[in-house]
């Protein structure tokens, strides 16, 4: 579904991604772990189409198409979804209207008829239950005045409504208490399916107790330095990133 080949990206002249290779097949959940500043969030943002990053090398194929040539909205319409590490507050834009505009933009892209208010409401209600969302949040401005946990839950709620093919979760666990994390994880797990893939970016192993990945990759200094199964996450939890960072430095020197 997703093939990242030798991806290099920089921002403000500084290279952040220094040759990322990653292949994700449909039905798989991959976790990207790594220390602060390793490029995890950059990778997530680049995949979603953030224009402030300059791609200097490499390519990304998504379902056989060149992802890097698509605008952010095209990517979304093609099924790519990013749950933001820091969801943006948008005063004055109602959460419901916003999602309706998003759903209908995507439906329009696929030549489908737009959802009417009734159908849309039914869809919302259904997904809200999944995430144990307070109905009040829907009538508020997008993320405005939401707590950290509410924002993250709102991201997963967006995901549940938009039903992406490739979901990228950027540190969705950060700032969540254990109850909120369970709810978010349940929401994510409910979306796991054979024709959908997920990329779970996280700093801590904690989330992976609830969203169990098929593969774990360690990103250090803009490169994936180790890949393995879910047990790799546990190993990192015990040993921290220090050992791996040292290894990576060794690799670079060699």
């Amino acid at each position: 579904m997703l093939e990242i080949k030798n991806l290099h990206a920089k921002i403000n002249g500084r290279e952040i991604l220094k040759g990322v290779d990653l292949t994700v097949r449909a039905g798989e959940v991959h976790s990207i772990m790594g220390p602060n500043g390793s490029g995890k969030s950059t990778l997530a943002q680049v995949l979603a189409g953030r224009e402030s990053y300059e791609i200097t090398h490499g390519e990304v194929l998504y379902r056989g198409k060149n992802l890097l040539e698509m605008s952010p909205e095209e990517r979304a319409c093609e099924g790519v979804f990013l749950a933001f590490q820091y969801p943006v507050e948008i005063p004055g834009v109602n959460n419901t209207y916003f999602l309706k505009a998003a759903v209908n933009a995507i439906r329009k892209y696929h030549g489908q008829e737009e959802l009417d208010a009734m159908d849309f409401l039914a869809l919302m209600k259904n997904k809200m239950k999944l995430l144990d969302m307070d109905e009040g949040l829907l009538n508020r401005s997008v993320n405005e005045g939401f707590s950290g946990g509410e924002k993250k839950r709102n991201e997963i709620f967006h995901m549940a409504v938009l039903q992406p093919t490739l979901a990228i979760l950027d540190e969705t666990d950060s700032g969540l208490d254990i109850d909120a994390m369970k709810i978010v994880a349940n929401g994510v797990n409910a979306l796991r399916s054979p024709d959908r893939a997920m990329l779970v970016v996280t700093h801590y192993q904690r989330l992976l107790n609830y969203i169990v990945p098929d593969f774990v990759h360690v990103l250090v200094d803009g490169r994936i330095v180790r890949s393995g199964g879910k047990e790799l996450a546990l190993e990192l939890e015990e040993q921290g990133y220090v050992g791996i960072e040292a290894e990576a430095t060794q690799l670079t020197k060699v």
């Binding site: 979603a48 189409g49 953030r50 224009e51 402030s52 605008s71 952010p72 909205e73 990517r75 979304a76 319409c77 979804f81 990013l82 933001f84 969801p87 943006v88 948008i90 005063p91 004055g92 834009v93 209207y97 916003f98 999602l99 309706k100 505009a101 998003a102 759903v103 209908n104 933009a105 995507i106 892209y109 737009e114 401005s141 967006h158 938009l162």
Partner: protein, 452 residues
Amino acid sequence: MTETMTRNDTRALDGFLQSFKSLEPTWSRNGQRWLQPVRRAAMARLAEIGFPTVHDEDWRFTNLAPIVTTAFQPAAEAAASVDAGSLTPFAFAGCDCTRLVFLNGRFAPGLSTSPLLPAGVRAGSLAQTLADDRVALEPHLARHEDFQQEAFSALNTAFLTDGAFVSVPRGTVVEQPIHILYVTLPGDGPVATHPRTLVVTGDDSQVSVVEDFVSLGDGTHLSNAVTELVVGDGSVVGHYLIQRESRQAFHVSTLRGQQGRSSSLTSHTVLMGGALTRRNIHPVLAGEGAECLINGLFMANGRQHMDNYMKVEHASPHCASRQVYKGILDGQSHGVFHGRIIVHKDAQKTDAKQTNMNLLLSEDAQIDTKPQLEIYADDVKCTHGATVGQIDDEAIFYLRSRGIPEASARALLLYAFAGDMLQRMKVEPIRRHLERLVSQWVPQGNLLEGVR
């Protein structure tokens, strides 16, 4: 150099003096004799002080040259040339409201509608009331707005002949808003109108009044309006001003509020039209515990100039005022927010807040924002803040990452910025009408269909 020329250029002033001389005899024939000394004093005062220049602190950011160098004629009578249909676009759908239409400054009863109002409520022509019932006007008309200080108020008072008069008796609630439509039909040359509005509310009453300025057709014109709004003790009054005149219009208008004890005045200003607009809001919180909420939205593009000038006077203890103004400036437009708050010596426990937020959509758009606090009491809470920015790229990316096209995302964010001001409007038909106007103004606003 330009400034000196402007100061010495008396084309506008000469024109007004000439008009005054020729019109004055006709006014004294129309049963308005008692106003004559006031008009004369106002004209004399204007001749003395002249129009302000950018050297006047209160006019620093607005060059009046386009007005001062133009010789305006009084706008001609135009009642016969307008049919009701041409005013339909200005009506508030779903509102069974009293509508007072003025054409070129004169009341047009044939185009006005007046559903049944509560007993004792008056809403009609000032000229008519001047002729029939000057006793109702004398205590208030030209008593509050100080033409000694303000050139445009002096000009308005010199030509004071007609406009709207609204009066609400004590304890009366007027459910539907009163819509005052000031229509100008420009002539062959530049024309001027000087509408005067007087609203007097008795104690514990409630009413909303809309002043709506429009042009029918193109051509240079000046609308120079003054409104005196006397808010009785415990009354709740809403005032709306919509400036949607043509791009060749000059507009100077003043709202002078005189607030009684525990009264509440909410003012909404929406500026969209005109070439050069100056909007003055001057409430005096005269009674203890009064509050006023002053909201404004100004949206300019092309070469439009919009100057918002506030003078909020706290004259009694325990009064609260809130100013919230938002500007959206595109093209080469120029916006001004000048917020003065004056707290008099006795106005202890004053609570005054001022906020001005601006979005600049182009490189050449310009905003001047200036708070000015003059505090003579010692136990007060006054805050002010201003922001100037562009549309947030983070927010654009967020919307796009959910599938919303960039142009729609921009329109949505702009609309949201402005919409915040509309949400504050309590009268729903007015709010809906303005929501439509604002979404039409927003670039690619058609993309908002079904979203807002």
